[in-house]
């Protein structure tokens, strides 16, 4: 046997039971009445879904049946042995050859069975926090009439989750009524994660034919990170009429000096520049920089190209963007600004600017689980001009845009310029996913740097961050930026 996963990795508890018929009926009773408990195996009994256990097979889709070519050449080897026996006049060799003929016949007989399995998948936590370990238990019962001499089950772990403990698969044999349970642990990551159908591969006893089937057992977890404040975010001077904390170039009431002007009747006494009055005898009024609230839309680049990272196993730029957008979201809301969320993605995602606790919860939900910001690309086509038209229609006239993009292609830079040209102040915040090991990677790095430079020379604020965290990069850049 050249089976890489070995023989039964996990076998069901009743396998040692020689009374097959009794065991079968016991298992069926247990399945019909889950409250009886009894000798039910712990993993299945403590899961909530055990109550749903039935003897109806899980919906399945037959995918393909192939000859594995495992015994290919065995007839040739047998014939060669017989020939050799004849050649050297040794009847034992001829007899040994005949044994080979037996194997050839064995390989031809039999057919890969179609599995009739009742699959139940249960997870230890359906709403984990990012980084939490979630235990997944999969139980498959052979509810068909035929035995499955060689069964491999491979679970459809969501592509955005990594298994940290145990393989998400099992190899075993199941007679009718028997069940197998296997467990593994995944590390939760931001997003809605839906399990893909389980793949069942069955073979005949000789392993000559193989059938692959998928079994649908819907399971999902939703992982919503808490929003952490990312310090003080630098916004630009375009603002709403509401009072807030963004310093503007508008003189009026505030705390910071802006200008002095001639006294006009009705100006408050406390704003009169008394020093000047004493010096020159003229009355003048001090204007202070008005502080107003801003309307901000956080735009996250989630096109397929943005799912990039310096290392295939590292977190993608989309994850970095979403995490940073979360920090910006709570920081801006705390400051009294109105914040909205949009995604540059083939899928639609739009949370209009707003404020308040309900809006905060909605924003958190959007950032965590919106399909447009999923941890893996959707695979749909992105139409730039269509997207821009829709985005502009929705964007409030006084809104400024914080654009989170890794800038790995020209589209993002062009869009930033076009949004800016339409009168919305744009700040580009760019997680750096580039690396410089091969010629192609170095060229990409140069091109990205060029894009950042051209954005800056076009008057668009651009900030990039790599290994250092987003708030640190913001703090460093804020010192550099003038208003």
């Amino acid at each position: 046997m050249s089976d890489p996963s070995g023989a039964a990795v996990a076998s069901e508890p009743e396998d040692s039971d020689s009374a097959g018929g009794e065991a079968r009926s016991a298992r069926r009773e247990e399945a019909a009445d889950s409250t009886a408990g009894g000798e039910a195996d712990a993993a299945a009994a403590d899961s909530a879904s055990a109550a749903e256990s039935t003897n109806t097979p899980t919906d399945r889709e037959r995918r393909r049946e192939v000859a594995t070519d495992r015994w290919l050449g065995i007839a040739g080897a047998a014939l060669a042995l017989v020939g050799l026996g004849v050649l050297v006049r040794q009847s034992p060799l001829v007899l040994a050859g005949a044994v080979g003929v037996g194997y050839a016949v064995y390989a031809r007989a039999g057919d890969a069975p179609t599995p009739a399995l009742a699959v139940i998948r249960s997870v230890s936590d359906e709403a984990p926090a990012p980084g939490d370990e979630v235990h997944v238990t999969v139980r498959a019962e052979n509810v068909g009439e035929t035995a499955l001499p060689d069964l491999r089950l491979v679970d459809g772990v969501p592509p955005g989750l990594a298994v940290v403990d145990g393989p998400a698969r099992v190899a075993t044999a199941l007679r009718p009524g028997a069940a197998v349970t296997f467990e593994y642990t995944v590390r939760a990551a931001r997003g809605d994660h839906e399990w893909e159908p389980l793949t069942a591969i069955t073979r005949d006893a000789a392993g000559a034919r193989e059938r692959s089937t998928t079994l649908d057992a819907p399971t999902a977890i939703a992982c919503t990170p808490e929003l952490a404040a990312g310090g003080n975010l630098p916004l630009r001077g375009l603002t709403t009429v509401h009072h807030g904390r963004v310093p503007t170039d508008v003189g009026g009431a505030g705390v910071e000096f802006h200008a002095t002007r001639e006294y006009r009747r009705g100006d408050p006494l406390k704003r009169i520049d008394w020093n000047r009055r004493a010096r020159t005898g003229e009355l003048s009024t001090v204007e202070l920089r008005e502080e107003r609230a801003a309307t901000v839309v956080l735009l996250v680049d989630a096109r397929e190209s943005a799912y990039a990272a310096a290392d295939p196993d590292a977190e993608t730029a989309v994850e970095a963007s979403v995490a940073a957008a979360g920090q910006a979201f709570s920081a801006l809301l705390d400051g009294g600004d109105r914040v909205g969320i949009a995604a540059l993605s083939p899928l639609d995602c739009w949370l209009p600017p707003g404020s308040g606790t309900v809006h905060a919860a909605r924003g958190r939900e959007t950032l965590a689980t919106d399909p447009a910001l999923a941890p893996t690309p959707s695979g749909e086509r992105f139409y730039r001009s269509l997207w821009l038209r829709r985005f502009r229609r929705r964007l409030p006239a006084d809104a400024q845009v914080l654009f989170f993009t890794p800038l790995v292609d020209d589209t993002a830079a062009t869009l930033a310029r076009r949004i800016d040209a339409h009168g919305h102040l744009v700040t580009v915040l760019s997680p750096d996913p580039t690396t410089a090991e091969t010629a192609g990677q170095r060229l990409t790095t140069f091109e990205r740097r060029g894009r950042l430079r051209s954005l800056r020379s076009a008057g668009i604020r651009a900030l990039e961050w790599g290994d250092d965290s987003f708030p640190v990069a913001v703090a460093a850049a804020t010192r550099r930026w003038s208003r």
Binding site: G73, G76, L79, A80, G83, R169, I201, E210, T434, Q441
Partner: protein, 183 residues
């Protein structure tokens, strides 16, 4: 193959007849030479059939690696694939080479313009006539009139790579040097 098939059918027919009628069997009384021939034929055919396995791999369903998270794309890895394609000295792929050269040229012009504080047009001229660098390999990458140095051509011939590949690498090294100096 047809004569062989006819011989095969005849042999089987004779064998069947011999099994039915002992007279025929005793008539062809197999000599040692015939038996040896049969043995040799058996071995040869057997080995031929068994050999069919050699080049065939077992067709097993590959369930993939669901345990791993979907890998992220590394920026530039698609470019590396294109570079690997143009690295072979085989003719063809002109469009790929031209596109790639244009891309590198754009970055080079930008780097030179910033380094020398000159207009993009002047930088483009410098890149096109090879005066943007002291490295003759990098210069030859953009300048179609000058040839690659002999050592590069020899090395390319020995290692089975194209001159283009050497030029591309030298140009990228040179851009990095210029950008590093400018930063």
């Amino acid at each position: 193959m047809r004569p062989l098939a006819v011989i095969g059918v005849l042999a089987v027919a004779v064998g069947l007849l011999a099994a039915l009628d002992r007279g025929i069997a005793s008539a062809i009384s197999p000599t040692s030479a015939v038996v040896t021939l049969i043995g040799v034929l058996g071995v040869v055919q057997g080995v031929r059939y068994a050999n069919a396995r050699r080049d065939r791999r077992r067709l097993l369903t590959d369930p993939g690696e669901p345990e791993r998270r979907a890998p992220a794309a590394v920026p530039g890895s698609d470019l590396d694939e294109r570079i690997a394609r143009v690295a072979s000295p085989a003719p063809g792929g002109y469009r790929d080479r031209r596109d790639l050269r244009d891309r590198v040229r754009e970055v080079a012009v930008d780097a030179v313009a910033r380094d020398r504080n000159c207009s993009p047009e002047a930088a483009a001229t410098a890149v096109d006539d090879g005066t943007w660098t002291d490295d003759p390999v990098a210069a030859a990458f953009f300048d179609t009139r000058s040839d690659y140095p002999l050592r590069v051509r020899l090395s390319a011939g020995v290692r089975g790579r194209s001159n283009y590949w050497y030029g591309l690498r030298a140009a990228i090294d040179e851009i990095e040097r210029i950008q590093g100096g400018a930063a």
